[in-house]
Homo-oligomer: 336 residues x 2
């Protein structure tokens, strides 16, 4: 009996070995076309994870940071959070009759995109404050969760959360399988992202760095709540990204992924550390399957996720790998 | 041959089982005396980790937050970071002749504790700014690391990092062994703590929440640096603790540990969540082995880590467990 049980265990163990071996043999990053770009990922991961390698990095220091909009999911025809803000303004309008005559709210209610663009960054902040503040953090989370479930992308007619880039999901999983800790470092609002990052990207809330608005601790009916104030606390964009990385993570990443001028400093900060580094930029050159914009390489200049020629030149000069969506990715979105 | 190998594997597997079983059988929390306090930890962990339990919490949501000063290491005769600041002021004094005649710096240079106390919170902030700002984050990390290596606690004559409370180190390890993610949430400066938390507490930098000063991204000699500015960014104390937890972690803890009035809101915020919760306060009632202060229970009122009677009453009313260092802990520090 004992002998039989031992044999049974041995067989189980052998089966586990087979399954593991099969998984290891499976081609990594299946949605990436073979070539230099994919190779740069595989070579980097091999270098920093192989014991005895000159570039070996202990697991605890394998920090990888990812921008969100345009890097992990689309930022067109506008940032998802802006689409959320516009929907919120419309939903809240009955309680704010003054918005009918006040810019930039009037522009939103009139669907007047020209007036909206004219309101500029100041107008954008007013829209965010009008739609993202004045409720508790718990209420805001419920509002975001509900919106993400109901809203659909205007072109792809799917939930925004279903539009995560399949090759990037594979990259996140591949890095984590090699003991990387994956973080989001985005200009987007941290409390707009956290309700979905774990489910969509496998990134838990505590590994999401983003812009924040101030909150205030209050006790209401004997229960503590955090109220969201109409005041910006921190903008996690451009030079704010290294600041945010230092403040929230406290370690320099060894790999960083972005897609626009807002990611320049994050990639520069990552690359300035010693040892092997991987910096990559998603370049949107696929109008057919997603969007094409620059203005680098003569593509149209759009408002959401600008990739200037100077960034393309800097990438070349510093060895940052530019991912061509058109050439490097077999598929853009998951079929699920 | 094959059969022999199978048997060999089976034996290996059996040995693994034995080792695991032995580890599980080992008494948990050996530096805690048996009794209600220790029991409250064991019962809570069993409840939230046992599959099928009504109070079961998925591993990803097992967030535990720990105050640092007075909870994980001593806060007497003064906060360790204040001792660091005073040493820094003395070291920097030759470059600041004006400090000889300016309070609160003069008080530090004269070792005039009365004048220092009279400078109050405003004076404290000036000392922190004078000693913690004006260098890059990398330079500051090197300064802190060097100081932590050289400085000795005035009473115990050991490095501050050797004075982590042994029962709390066991508690941290015990929680992590049950898939908790352990965080520090301290009023102390985050960049003062991060150089030592991984080595001392097993808590990586990205799981340290604390007070922050503003930093500025600059490019010096072609290299990006973050310069520490003499401006407070965030105070992670009292009502700031739930704010910090929300901002940096983005999830409500299910367990929180503190030792003073500064932890009241963190424990309240933790307890206000639904499901099983564990809130504990270290009470310093052991003048012989460490320190004794309150003013709760008639102990002397000290400046560093006040535990007022109102907190003792609130703990009783809300079911927060008060840890008596004298009665609940077999030993205070590690013998190593």
């Amino acid at each position: 009996m004992k002998r039989t049980f031992s044999n049974f265990l041995a067989i189980c163990l052998a089966m586990v070995f087979l399954v593991v071996a099969a998984a290891q043999a499976a081609e990594p990053l299946p949605s990436w076309n073979d070539g230099k770009t994919k190779q740069s990922i595989l070579v980097f991961v091999e270098k920093v994870t192989k014991p005895g390698s000159a570039d070996f990095v202990p697991a605890s220091e394998r920090i990888a940071t990812f921008d969100n909009d345009g890097t992990l999911w689309p930022s067109h025809p506008m940032y998802t959070q802006l689409a959320f803000a516009l929907d919120r303004i419309k939903a809240l309008a009955p309680k704010h009759p003054e918005w009918k005559t006040t810019q930039p709210f009037k522009a939103v209610l009139d669907n007047d995109l020209k007036a909206l663009a004219a309101a500029g960054e100041k107008g954008l902040v007013e829209l965010i404050m009008g739609s993202h503040a004045g409720m508790s953090t718990a209420e805001f989370e419920a509002i975001v969760t509900d919106w993400l479930d109901k809203a659909r992308h205007p072109r792809f007619k799917r939930r925004y959360t279903e539009l995560a880039y399949q090759p990037m999901l594979e990259l996140l999983a591949y890095l984590r399988a090699h003991d990387f800790k994956t973080f989001i470092v985005s200009g987007g609002g941290v409390e707009f992202m956290r309700p979905m990052t774990e489910k969509v990207y496998g990134i838990p809330p505590e590994q999401v760095v983003g812009s924040t608005i101030e909150t205030k601790y209050e006790v209401k009916d004997g229960k503590p709540v955090l109220m969201r104030l109409a005041k910006i606390d921190f903008i996690d964009d451009k030079a704010g990204k290294p600041v945010g990385i230092n403040k929230f993570i406290g370690r320099r990443p060894i790999a960083a992924f972005g897609n626009s001028a807002g990611d320049r400093e994050m990639l520069g900060w990552t690359g300035a550390g010693s040892g092997a580094r991987l910096m990559m930029l998603v370049f949107h050159d696929d109008a057919e399957r997603e969007y094409a914009y620059g203005p680098a390489n003569g593509l149209p200049d759009t408002k959401f996720g600008t990739f200037p020629q100077s960034l393309m030149n800097e990438a070349k000069q510093k060895g940052w790998v530019v991912i061509s969506m058109k050439n490097d990715w077999k598929s853009i979105f998951s079929d699920k």
